[in-house]
Amino acid sequence: MEPLSVNIRNLSKSYGEVNALQDISLGIRRGELFGLIGPDGAGKTTMFRILTTLLLPDTGSAEVEGFDVVRDFRQIRRITGYMAGRFSLYQDLTVEENLNFYATVFGTTVKENYDLIRDIYSHIEPFKKRRAGKLSGGMKQKLALSCALIHKPKILVLDEPTTGVDAVSRKEFWEMLLRLKVHDITILVSTPYMDEAGLCNRVALIQDGVILSVDVPEVIVGNYRGRLLAVSSDDLYTLKKDLEAFKHTASVYLFGQHLHLTLGGNDAESEIRGYLGMKGHKNLIIEPISPNIEDCFLELMVKAGKTNP
């Protein structure tokens, strides 16, 4: 097994009364594509800012490639590529100038590490004389990733690179990340999009500063405990209201064109068809399905008591 690239032990961080991270322990192996999955306010950015030495933890410790995040911050900064959640390149510099600037800061040249960024940078190279501020969202993202990679970092930290990005650009971005894996870089990426979990080697599901689960996506899905049914009819709105009122319903959630339903009690499944038939639902379909990561996240949130009113 590969050695640990990131080793987090009992890490906590608070902002006033808000506990952003609560006693987090986590190991990430070298070369892993690791996803930190959770909504806004879960603590994703706080964790990344501590790992990139931009923020000090309150208690606990963390090492990146054997360097301590507090004591050895200089060494960590040399081997880390970081893409912040907000576009943070120089808007008044051109594409080419930004890239050269970052290469120079890290004591290297674009030429020396061009192989690493070729796949990504080639998309924006035709616009290299354009100012970064004038690029489209997708192009800015590619430039930011190129700049984060230009010094051939050992660890790449990407804070919500796909937030607010449309479905097509999201797919393209993940394809680029997957192709980077051959270069043996440890990649940490955070996202609020549950469907991106399946693209990672391992993921941590995080909510309110607590890790709900950390594992290979297939294992997390395998640990789902309920029996899940997909239910649909011509009128999802009424169907959902009816299912909420059904005495055996444990949970019912909207999932695109279906409702995902779990039931409690024996014989509930045999009763449900009769119950919904009686309510007059047309084109009723009830079928067992395999859960996805979002189903698991929902189950874990409920189990951890993290539901809102």
Partner: protein, 242 residues
Amino acid sequence: MKSEKTVIKVRDLVKKFGDFTANDHLNFEVYEGEIFGFLGANGAGKTTALRILCGLSLPTSGEISVAGLNVYSGRDMIKRRIGYMSQKFSLYEDLQVHENIRLYAGIYGLSRKEIRLRTDHLLDTLGLEPVRNKRISELPLGWRQKLAFSVAVIHRPSIVFLDEPTGGVDPITRRQFWDLIYDASHDGITVFVTTHYMDEAEYCDRVCIMEAGRIEAIGSPAELKAKYHATNMDEVFIKIAR
């Protein structure tokens, strides 16, 4: 289609910024009580169109009416008849929960008595009574977004515009948010919503997909899936945008 009555009518909407055409001859209608999804890649022209429909910006040309009012001459009146919320800004962080409600209700001209009644009803429905006196900055994002939506419809507008209302929200709250949208729609409020979550596109009565300033597709999710031989809206979107 929930109703034959048109609440938004857009004919040949064009909006130019210098040489750049952000909206290129858009044509569509939105019906009363409908949940209308407005989708598209970043930079496709969604926000430009949304701002025109809300009376915040004037079109270069075209005939557009919102809630029975012309967007050229009726801009100020339009603002009274619509509600608006976005992910980026919704409520005043330094004000308490009930103060935010009072502020918005007051701006929309509700009476003191009405404000009191609707505030109590709203806090009760959302389960936010215990945090009535908390500042918005102390609330988790998911609570804020639900509250922001309820505040956006406190004056019972005929249309509510939602600009990526569920971005970054946890999966349970995201669904609770859609419950609120469904309820509003059942009460006859037309919902005009933009989103990047393709599962949410399935919840709309009809969706419109924009690409490079034009409308590429419009119809119910079922119609679009049939037309593009796709099993879900994610596939539809990718087939159109790629």
